[in-house]
């Protein structure tokens, strides 16, 4: 029984771990591959997006710079235009002043001159970045200054009344040409700025195009990443569902396998029980004959003994020592041995029958007050204990359990009987019974101060027809085997703690509530 239960546990264990390992493997493979692919793809996608973003940012900043430059060009152009305007104004004011020395012209001239100077300074500041334009501006400044001086001189001449001198100057000083030159220079600058502008515009357009390109690429990439991610996630989810299904199937299989095994084991156990029952019955039949005909033989030998006695009286010379020995000694001895052997065999067969019957008995769990149950057993043995001066104490409280009354009673009365039976002669017997709850199980201990059991025999005492120690008590070696079979039957177990001459403690562990084995 013990062996078969161990096998069940082991069998379940290995089967379970095998199946679980397979499931884990399957899950692991698809899981790891899918996760790796998804993570790799997402990382790649986000790296691409990041690159797109950075590029867009760079292009954006660049573009802003370029727009700045374009604006700058417009600014330069504006100033050039204003410069040319002021120059026109300056020249017109002088011409007007020369014709009619109106102070208004003088004012316009002064104003235009100031504006011109301002514009030149502005232009000079604006064109610091461009060496070519800078040179032109320098020349323009120079030209403008000279023109201003020249025009200023003719203006002074006119104001002093040196009209002829002024007119002469107007005709000869080349100021008109200079002004035209300055204007041309402005035009050249304008052209240069326009060239710059168109170049800058082109660059800006290109930049904008690059920006759009990057944006489009990023968009496409985003779309790709999203699609691929969704696809992968969908596949992953599908794989997950598949592995969950297969896990469930495997789990079902496992349960089925366990159920099949349990059923097989139960069937095997039933088979053994039936086998034991049938065998012991069929063994009984010939035993009846052996017994019966031995008795018949004894009966016949009585007739022979009677005859022998008559012969001894009437014709003693017919008898020899051999005949006498055969009839008076050998035959009764043979019959005696046959008898004791068949009696012993009968007891053993009955023991097997009892065990097999116990195994087939239906367990009827009920609430048991262990303290009362133990006292009841002790009372039934009171007479015996008083005879040998043994004492039994029940340490209360004892736990209450739900189990089969008859089985528990048989277990405990066997243990207590043994304790009484194997006390140490000359030492007053002390038997203690105690119980407690431990991890959902009830533990009952029967402790004695008797002769004890050698640790090497602790397993042996529970085996059928095996006994240990000094054989001075009657018994067939059935009690503890029976106890263990019953304990297993109730879903419990029993162990022994003992040393020779130091008493023995039998520890019975039972489920607090008996749970019926599921019927296969």
């Amino acid at each position: 029984m013990a062996a078969s239960e161990d096998t069940v546990a082991e069998g379940h264990g290995s089967l379970y771990s095998r199946v679980m390992a397979r499931v884990a493997d399957e899950l692991d493979l698809s899981d790891r591959a899918a996760t790796r692919a998804v993570i790799l793809f997402v990382i790649l996608g986000f790296l691409g997006l990041l690159a797109g973003g950075v590029t867009a940012g760079i292009v954006m900043v660049d573009n802003q710079q370029r727009v700045g430059w374009v604006n700058h060009t417009y600014e330069v152009e504006r100033h050039i235009d204003r410069l040319r305007l002021q120059m026109e104004r300056l020249e017109a004011a002088r011409r007007g002043y020369l014709l009619d020395a109106d102070p208004t012209f003088r004012m316009i001239f002064d104003d235009a001159e100031a504006s011109l100077t301002h514009e030149v300074a502005q232009l000079s500041a604006l064109t610091q970045d461009n060496p070519a334009q800078k040179a032109t501006v320098e020349r323009l400044t120079d030209q403008t200054n000279r023109l201003r001086v020249m025009l200023g001189a003719s203006m002074i001449a006119r104001s002093l009344g040196l009209d002829q001198k002024a007119l002469e100057d107007f005709r000869t000083d080349g100021s008109v040409q200079m002004a035209r030159g300055a204007r041309t220079m402005g035009g050249a600058m304008l052209a240069e700025e326009n060239r710059l502008l168109s170049a800058r515009m082109t660059t800006q357009r290109r930049t904008v195009n690059i920006f759009y390109g990057v944006l489009t690429a990023s968009g496409v990439l985003l779309l790709l990443v999203a699609t691929a991610s969704i696809l992968l996630i969908a596949r992953y989810v599908r794989a997950l569902a598949t592995s969950r299904d297969s896990l469930k199937a495997l789990n079902d299989n496992l349960e089925q396998a366990v159920a099949v095994r349990t059923r097989d084991l139960r069937r095997a156990n039933d088979e053994i029980q039936r086998f034991a029952y049938i065998v012991s019955h069929d063994l009984r039949s010939p035993l009846v004959n052996v017994h019966g005909f031995t008795a018949e033989l004894e009966r016949s030998s009585q007739t022979i003994v009677a005859l022998l006695q008559r012969v001894e009286q009437e014709a003693p010379h017919l008898l020899d020592a051999e005949a006498r020995r055969a009839v008076y000694a050998d035959a009764p001895e043979a019959i005696g041995f046959i008898r004791t052997s068949t009696q012993k065999m009968d007891r053993l067969i009955n023991a097997i029958l009892r065990l097999s019957r116990e195994g087939r008995r239906t367990i009827t769990p009920e609430r048991l007050d262990m303290a009362r149950l133990v006292r009841g057993i002790a009372d039934s043995m009171r007479h015996r204990m008083d005879e040998i001066g043994a004492q039994l104490t029940v340490e209360t409280p004892m736990p209450e359990i739900v189990s089969d009354r008859l089985a528990v009673e048989q277990i405990l009365s066997n243990l207590i009987e043994n304790a009484v039976k194997y006390l140490k002669p000359g030492r007053p017997g002390r038997i203690q019974v105690r119980g407690w709850l431990e991890a959902g199980r009830a533990v009952i201990e029967v402790q004695d101060n008797g002769r004890g059991i050698d640790p090497k025999d602790h397993e042996r005492v529970f085996e059928l027809f095996r006994r240990a120690g000094f054989q001075d008590q009657p018994g067939e070696g059935i009690g503890l085997a029976h106890v263990r079979a019953l304990a297993y039957r109730l879903g419990g177990g029993i162990t022994c703690v003992s040393a020779l001459d130091a008493g023995a403690t039998f520890r019975l562990s039972l489920p607090v509530t008996y749970v019926a084995e599921p019927t296969a």
């Binding site: 029952y277 039949s285 009846v288 004959n289 017994h291 019966g292 008795a295």
Partner: protein, 148 residues
Amino acid sequence: MNGHQPVNIIMVEDDEGHARLIERNIRRAGISNTVHHLSDGSSALRFLFEHPEGPVKNGPALVLLDLNLPDMSGTEILARIKSDPALRRTPVVVLTTTDDKVEIQRCYDLGCNVYITKPVNYENFADAIRQLGLFLAVIQIPESEGLG
């Protein structure tokens, strides 16, 4: 026993030794009725229902029945006897090694009149048979209806 016709004892027992011991002890109890010994189920049924000396054709009888037979279970023979209109009043004594409660109940349910477990101990066994003999000496056994 029966007024005008002696009761036949029909013993269905596959173990020759048991049969011999049973017969000896019946004789020792002072019963001298004819004992027909049959050692398997089918020949027992044939004798019970067809044989000219069988109870159907030849007067009252008492059946001693062992349950463990080589070719069929004794309960089957018991059922056949108890469901047959001609034989159902014939007393059946089940004498077997089985002391399984369920089996005993089943035999009584089928209509067995006495159930005796063969004790392994011969003294008890002989006692049981001798008591059965005393019992045979006093009981009234109805005529088999087959003759009626």
